[in-house]
Symmetry: C2
Subunit: 337 residues, 2 copies
């Protein structure tokens, strides 16, 4: 339980100094092959495991990146994380994932801990705007899927206003004039932006603002989509929207499920557009029209920005990608009866 065999035990056992052991660990080429073997044997024999705390304390650098994710259960974020990890790995760094689960408190705790750990850098998709007061505390932070408002950080985002516009324009082109947007909470920047895009689309088409109603949900999870579905079905058919634009695919899938469960047809009774185009969107009950974001690339780029943060004359950059509408059955053109 407490082996606690240190570098000096190894040194003694191999008949060298601790400096030599350290060299074997960090600059194997600088030590004579014979000695190196001897040291390695001693390490093996004693079951020595290097103490990273001590190493980091002295050496000053860490070998890990962390990504504080908004919702680990959302495949969108795990896809982004894959991009991050690929880039991190190329730079010889490991990636720790932390799940804030949309909870500002947890987020703060994780950030605090990561700062204390002196990780090489932190990627974060923040819970809300105010949590983005990520005061400069020595550890570089890059915002993912969110545009940095102050100039204090790099950020990588996707144009959510455009995404919302694409989605709702598509619905309008398909003849819908009563459209619901389902998502929330509004404290999430993405939701606000996507809604803004939706409003813009309605205006562009010359429709009255009432053509779009906003149904706020507590989160962007499947259950909320189901709940919204029930609310929708409760409406008299004359006032019920004929199309829904969902804040993300989870909500859309929940909505879909609730519709078929209650005997309504998609897209005939309700057309549905999701957001993110996660892998499950295409496999849904009715394959889901969705706004695709370059997920892996988002993560990869974010990691690269983070790694560039140490360069001498660094200036914070803000990268913005374009989303893309992927049309599937859930918005197939409405059959006229």
């Amino acid at each position: 339980m407490k082996p606690s065999v240190g570098i000096r035990d190894v040194a003694q056992h191999a008949g060298v100094s601790n400096a030599t052991v350290s060299n074997v660990l960090n600059r194997p080429d600088v030590v004579a092959p014979a000695t190196r073997q001897r040291v390695l044997a001693a390490i093996e024999e004693l079951g020595f495991v290097r103490n990273e705390s001590a190493r980091q304390l002295r050496a000053g650098r860490s070998r890990v990146l962390a990504y504080v994710v908004l919702d680990a259960a959302n495949p969108f974020f795990t896809d982004v994380a894959r991009g991050v990890e690929d880039a991190a790995r190329e730079a010889g760094l490991a990636l720790f994932l932390c799940n804030s689960a949309s909870d500002g408190g947890r987020e703060r705790e994780y950030l605090e801990l990561l700062h204390e750990q002196r990780v090489e850098g932190i990627l974060i998709t923040p819970v809300d705007a105010e949590s983005a007061q990520l005061a400069e505390r020595g550890t570089p932070v890059v915002l993912v899927d969110r545009e940095a408002t102050d100039g204090a950080h790099c950020s990588v985002a996707v144009d959510d206003v455009l995404g919302g516009e694409l989605a709702v324009t598509h619905l309008i082109e398909n003849g819908h004039t009563r459209i619901a947007m389902i998502g929330g909470p509004l404290s999430i920047q993405q939701v606000r932006d996507r809604r803004e895009g939706a409003v813009k689309a309605v205006a562009n088409a010359g429709l009255p603002p009432e053509a779009l109603t906003f149904l706020e949900t507590k989160s962007l999870q499947v259950a909320e989509g189901r709940g919204a579905g029930e609310r929708l079905v409760g409406l008299p058919a004359s006032r019920r929207p004929t199309a829904a634009f969902c804040g993300n695919d989870l909500v859309a899938l929940g909505l879909l499920q609730s519709m078929t469960q209650q005997g309504l047809r998609v897209p005939d009774d309700l057309a549905v557009v999701g957001y993110d185009d996660i892998e499950f969107a295409a496999a849904a009950a009715v394959p889901l029209t969705s706004v695709r974001q370059p997920r892996e690339q988002l993560g990869r780029t974010a990691a690269q920005l983070l790694l560039a943060e140490n360069e001498p004359d660094h200036e914070h950059r803000h990268v913005k990608f374009q989303p893309e509408l992927v049309v599937r059955a859930s918005t197939a053109v409405k059959r006229r009866n």
Copy 2:
């Protein structure tokens, strides 16, 4: 960039000794309110961030648990992770997620790093049996969703043999006599166990062993399910199985997608059973019959075992849960033409 303000800077600024600052940080109650305020003010003013490496080096304990997950993109594991995190959080620990992505090499790297970090404990769903040579290296390790073969670790598992048996028995009861099991690689213990259960079910029913064919896939991801679907459709209808039992829900969803895409109907042309009962299973093109595992509980229990590992007279325990079949449309009884 390099503030590097330490505890002694704070001490000096507040006119106390560093020990007092340390006390404010760790035992606030022991220091007089007035001094405490002064110190806190100094901390705030200087933007001091405690160095966790130094703390851990001296104090010996860490405040984090890690879960090395087999596939972060599989919602099953993120659900397990939620259970883990809940339990960890109750014990005042943070959780770092690491994704081995079914790669033995990555898994080894993460384990090595975590050992070096001296985390409080490691949870792992190992890639394969040999990787489970998780030599005792001082940090407690608990196996998740896998039974520990040697007595060296605690483990929390679900009875996969029973799960396979439940699934295939259900198919047989529905009249199927040509059944495919789709999953892999066989190096994964779960796949082997589920297959064993399937074989058992066939034997129990008095069917010949040929009633079950095994289609091995390279991984348990959606794409593999799609690929398997294409292979199946390529078979002449007379030899094509009438039911498929998939190694997990991702594969099942891929299979489903491939079926509908190729114009085959589920369950009429092919009944499908998945495994895990992830949230998306119920929202699939055809709601998926699946074998449900107690996901959160799995994680929660694993974390509890891990935390109990430090008790003086600890004996390794092996908890095993029972899976449960959830029947949905994808195996609705075959219509006789």
